[in-house]
């Protein structure tokens, strides 16, 4: 048993290295004083400096934040409603519709929404991106809320009702406070998903509006530059903070 455990531990350690080394390389080279991501020359902040003076990048960052805030807000509202009703009732259509956008390849949602927006004669931009992001975020919020709902002891709400609370009071005073970590975790996940989305945004963004991932894509397509490493490192830092928060709030949410 002992020997197998060691073998298992070593191979697992190898897989962890496989997961983290590439990202570590990105971070390290973001501080390298050389245009090439090859050998280490010396420490520098200049790629970050360049980044904060890059007007396009700043506009893209602002767009990303606006889109992510708006879509997280609306998706949290809709996703919470979806999660609660799915938990309470044996529904057929809603659970399927909540899962389907998560289960299908991203590109399909991207191109079908493109067709949809064009058919409505809608101009592509921040609004179309936000509407698209809400669509794929609802499911993640719903799953997080649903997971939390099933942990709530039913006798608490039943006791409240027996003591004469109206359904609304019962929801406000009992269900909502107990549900709050699940909702918040869902909201943070939605925000992260929106900030990070590339594929769907790529199709529904149109020509005039850019987001951080789109900006990274166009830079990467032209050449590999340490500026990309710098923005990547910052994005990783942001995600790290958000996801650690989610994990603290609702450990089960990330696994669904």
């Amino acid at each position: 048993m002992k020997r197998k455990n060691r073998l298992l531990k070593i191979s697992a350690l190898g897989v962890y290295a496989f997961l983290y080394l590439p990202l570590l390389i990105v971070v390290i080279y973001s501080f390298n004083d050389s245009k090439l991501n090859a050998e280490w020359v010396g420490f520098t902040w200049k790629w970050y400096d360049k980044l904060f003076n890059n007007r396009e990048m700043l506009t893209a960052a602002r767009n990303s934040l606006i889109i992510a805030s708006a879509s997280a807000l609306i998706a949290t509202l809709l996703g919470t409603l979806a999660g609660m009703t799915i938990h309470k009732y044996r529904l057929k259509l809603l659970p399927g519709l909540v899962i389907a956008p998560i289960a299908m390849p991203d590109i399909l949602m991207g191109v079908s929404l493109l067709l949809f927006f064009i058919m409505l004669n809608m101009s592509l931009g921040l609004l179309s991106i936000t509407l698209a992001h809400i669509t794929f975020c609802i499911g993640f919020v719903a799953l997080s809320v649903q997971a939390r709902m099933s942990n709530i002891d039913r006798s608490l709400t039943e006791a409240a009702r027996d003591l004469g609370a109206t359904p609304w009071q019962c929801f406000r005073k009992i269900t909502l406070p107990l549900l709050a970590p699940g909702i918040l975790a869902g909201a943070l996940m939605a925000f992260t998903l929106s900030i990070d989305d590339f594929v769907i945004t790529f199709f529904v963004a149109g020509v005039d509006s850019s987001t951080l991932p789109l900006q990274i894509y166009s830079m990467v397509k032209i050449a590999i530059t340490p500026e990309v490493n710098a923005i990547s490192t910052l994005l990783m830092l942001l995600t790290l903070i958000l996801i650690t928060l989610v994990a603290k709030l609702s450990p089960g949410a990330l696994r669904s």
């Binding site: 048993m1 990202l23 991501n37 390849p105 191109v111 199709f203 990467v220 990309v228 994005l235």
Partner: protein, 301 residues
């Protein structure tokens, strides 16, 4: 009175599900139907879609066609690309099982207080930006990168000409595995965590060897987790365009690259819709097959 109270309850609570239902119908179901419809339309003269109806001498005429679907079967390019994409997805899935299984097993067998942290360490890279994770491998595979350097000096010892890793199917497969590995580990762990250690102890007491214990107990019990993880890896890989585009060169492209090309570069939306519908059908089929498999597994137990 009783009925009205019951109806009121139904209205007040079930209706909470209506806003998300309406949103998903409008922004997910309707666009999919529109895409199916678009696959029967003509392309516009300057890309996009041509009108699908017109008035002629006071009467309404429709302008729909099967041509786009016929084009799918005219040459075997598209069939081959679909098969190639399926092959890539199968390979990536198998490699994810190979790498993900030991990791999930290790986490499931470590002390309870460590498990959450170990699992979080698997999840974290998955939540870092998708393009950043691809970009990391662009650096690693770049011709000036250390990996290519080392590999080529090793090959030179055996007198083999230097090779380039960038823009190759190998680069695509490695990155596909890297990006989707957490999808495999999570469901596998969720399954392995539930196994009763007493089973393994009993087998050991009865003299079963380590490998026998694994292949006769752990592996068969973990199959539902393997299937769930495989579906979660297979489907997004099947529809992937960013990884082949950035790392694949001309040899490494997959079906989603052609879909993207139809919608963005050649702007032939009807044919792009045909390919998208085929991809949709493939994804739905995989989900249904997976669900059926999982159910059978559940029944046989």
């Amino acid at each position: 009175m009783h009925t009205s109270a019951w109806r009121k309850k139904l209205i007040s609570q079930k209706c909470l599900g209506l806003p998300p239902l309406a949103y998903l119908l409008i922004f997910f179901a309707v666009p999919t139907v529109i895409m199916l419809f678009a696959s029967f339309r003509y392309a516009g003269d300057y890309g996009g879609l041509a009108p699908w109806y017109y008035y002629e001498q006071g009467s309404l005429s429709f302008d729909l066609t099967l041509e786009n679907w016929q084009r799918l079967f005219e040459s075997d390019i598209y069939l081959q690309l679909f098969l190639k994409s399926i092959a890539y997805a199968v390979l990536a899935t198998l490699l994810c099982i190979l790498l993900g299984y030991p990791l999930a097993l290790m986490i499931a067998r470590s002390p309870r207080r460590h498990r959450d942290l170990l699992l979080l360490l698997v999840i974290l890279p998955f939540w870092s930006n998708f393009l950043v994770r691809i970009y990391a491998w662009m650096i690693i595979f770049s011709p000036s990168g250390a990996l290519t350097h080392m590999l080529n000096s090793l090959l030179a010892v055996f007198g083999i000409a230097p090779i380039s890793l960038m823009y190759s199917p190998t680069a695509v497969i490695v990155t596909l595995v890297y990006v989707h590995l957490p999808f495999m580990v999570l469901p596998l762990y969720a399954n392995l965590e539930k196994h009763d250690p007493a089973l393994l102890d009993a087998a050991q007491d009865l003299g079963a060897s380590r490998w026998r214990r694994f292949w006769r107990i752990t592996w068969p019990l973990s199959l539902p987790g393997v299937y769930a993880g495989s579906i979660l890896v297979f489907i997004p890989v099947l529809g992937m365009f960013a990884i082949p585009e950035l790392l694949g060169g001309t040899d490494g492209i997959m079906i989603a690259n052609v879909i993207k090309q139809q919608f963005v570069e050649s702007r032939d939306w009807p044919f792009g819709s045909v390919l998208s519908m085929v991809l949709t059908a493939a994804a739905v089929l995989v989900v249904l097959l997976g669900a059926k498999f999982g159910q059978q597994l559940g029944h046989s137990r």
